[in-house]
């Protein structure tokens, strides 16, 4: 049994259950290829427009991309042309040295849940190399109808509000929904039914199975004052405690951030539509206007590579510039 599979706390562990050696080890696999900076105890990865290319996975490895927050239909000053920037993201994906197996879209596909907005995104995604796209809804995709249209379009074979799981080359992917039934004053919510399903979904998996969880609103407290967190995410993470490698991929905050907590790496992706301010640096989390020639530098895609058998999952953010 590897060190990662041992769940027991040792006396030398600090309060969060991770010793220094374990932390550094986890950091090593989380950080391959990305530029990190520690700010206020939070590890951040920055978009690198001209980063060195990662070595492609050997046979049996897995590579996929995450895109997020297309906000099709948005047309305000922060980006009057979200069609072009989504197309630029797809061009970027198609230019990768090896074709990713599939794409994840972590929500806010549309801006106002209008049918034509979803249609436009679907049309643009057809030009992407990877043919399979796995979605989870953002709050902008479930407006006015509690997500019925979203489920009709993207929810085939899913449970409840659209949650599901699938396996790819030995890794287990879990798509969660935390944008429905939000309560006044609260954050994102998973709910009891989904948490029970999650417990059951992972029950029979080996501890060594790499887990990738994706959901729209961050499953860690990025900045609760702006609603950037999920009420009951701790219960979801508790259900995944036995696993040696858990990667959590989110959107919603329109900027890249990364944090390592024990065996769990949290990552948020950039938007393909418009940037939002860093936590607390503006009056509100509304769209951030940057000079037109800077826009593509703050939008982007996330490229994830997993090499089977080594527990390594390399997450690299790439801007559209």
């Amino acid at each position: 049994m590897s060190e990662h599979e041992n769940n027991e706390l040792r006396p030398e562990d600090n309060a969060d259950g991770v010793d220094r050696r374990g932390f550094l080890k986890c950091m090593a696999w989380a950080g391959t290829g990305a530029f990190f900076q520690m700010e206020g105890g939070v590890l951040k990865s920055y978009s690198l427009s001209r980063m060195p290319r990662l070595e492609r996975p050997s046979a049996g490895g897995l590579s996929f991309v995450q895109i997020s927050d297309s906000h099709m239909g948005f047309n305000k000053a922060a980006n009057p042309d979200v069609v072009s920037t989504l197309k630029a993201a797809i061009d970027k994906i198609n230019a990768l040295p090896a074709r990713p197996e599939f794409m994840l879209h972590t929500g806010d596909i549309s801006h106002l849940s209008k049918p034509e907005e979803f249609d436009t995104v679907d049309q643009i995604l057809k030009s992407a190399g990877p043919k399979d796209v796995f979605f989870v809804p953002g709050e902008h995709d479930v407006l006015d109808d509690d997500g019925r249209q979203y489920l009709e379009r993207y929810g085939k074979g899913t449970r409840g509000g659209g949650w599901y799981s699938f396996d790819a080359k030995g890794a287990h992917f879990i798509g969660l929904v935390n944008v429905l039934n939000l309560k006044a004053g609260g954050l994102g919510t998973l709910g009891a039914e989904q948490l029970a399903w999650l417990q059951d979904d992972v029950k029979h998996l080996k501890h060594s199975t790499p887990i990738v969880v994706f959901a729209h609103i961050p499953l860690w407290s990025v900045y609760p004052q702006w609603g950037w967190g999920t009420e009951d995410s701790a219960q979801a993470l508790a259900a995944l405690k036995k696993f040696g490698s858990v990667s959590v991929l989110n959107g919603h905050i329109h900027q890249t951030m990364q944090k390592v907590e024990g065996r769990v790496t949290f990552h948020t992706a950039a938007s393909t539509a418009f940037p939002q301010p860093q936590p607390g640096t503006a009056d509100s989390p509304g769209p951030m206007k940057v000079p037109a020639d800077r826009l593509k530098a703050v939008l982007g895609i996330t490229d994830v590579t997993y090499v089977r058998g080594t527990h390594s999952l390399a997450i690299v953010d790439s801007s559209l510039a």
Binding site: A78, H140, L182, G286
Partner: protein
């Protein structure tokens, strides 16, 4: 002389008009005419966050943000459709009470309308 007389006439007329207007204003406010009140949605905030109005008041919310919001009563008394930039939602409060509400898209945004008899 002539010009002074004219001034007096004007003055008298002005005073009369003033009194008439004041009487009219008193007469209007004595009737239970429902007023309209506005709440602005700006920077992910309802302003004012707490509003006290008499029964019969129509409150209108206007979204000034670049991001859509909703106005949803916590007790299901009222619920707007999604409001895009510059869209508005109105509700007439016909019963007294406290009506907490929030944006169902950004639930950290909360407000309250207090309706008095």
């Amino acid at each position: 002389m002539k010009s002074k007389a004219t001034t007096y006439v004007f003055l008298a007329a002005a005073i009369a008009l003033y009194c008439l207007a004041k009487a009219a204003a008193v007469a209007v406010s004595a009737q239970p005419a429902p007023a309209a009140r506005d709440i602005k949605i700006d920077n992910f905030t309802f302003g004012p966050a707490e509003l006290t109005v008499p029964v019969g008041t129509t409150v209108m919310w206007a979204n000034r943000d670049d991001i859509p919001h909703t106005v949803v009563s916590t007790d299901k008394a009222f619920k707007s459709k999604v409001l895009d930039t510059d869209e508005k939602f109105s509700f007439t409060f016909s019963t007294p009470g406290t009506f907490p509400y929030f944006c169902s898209i950004h639930p950290k945004m909360t407000g309250k309308v207090v309706v008095q008899k």
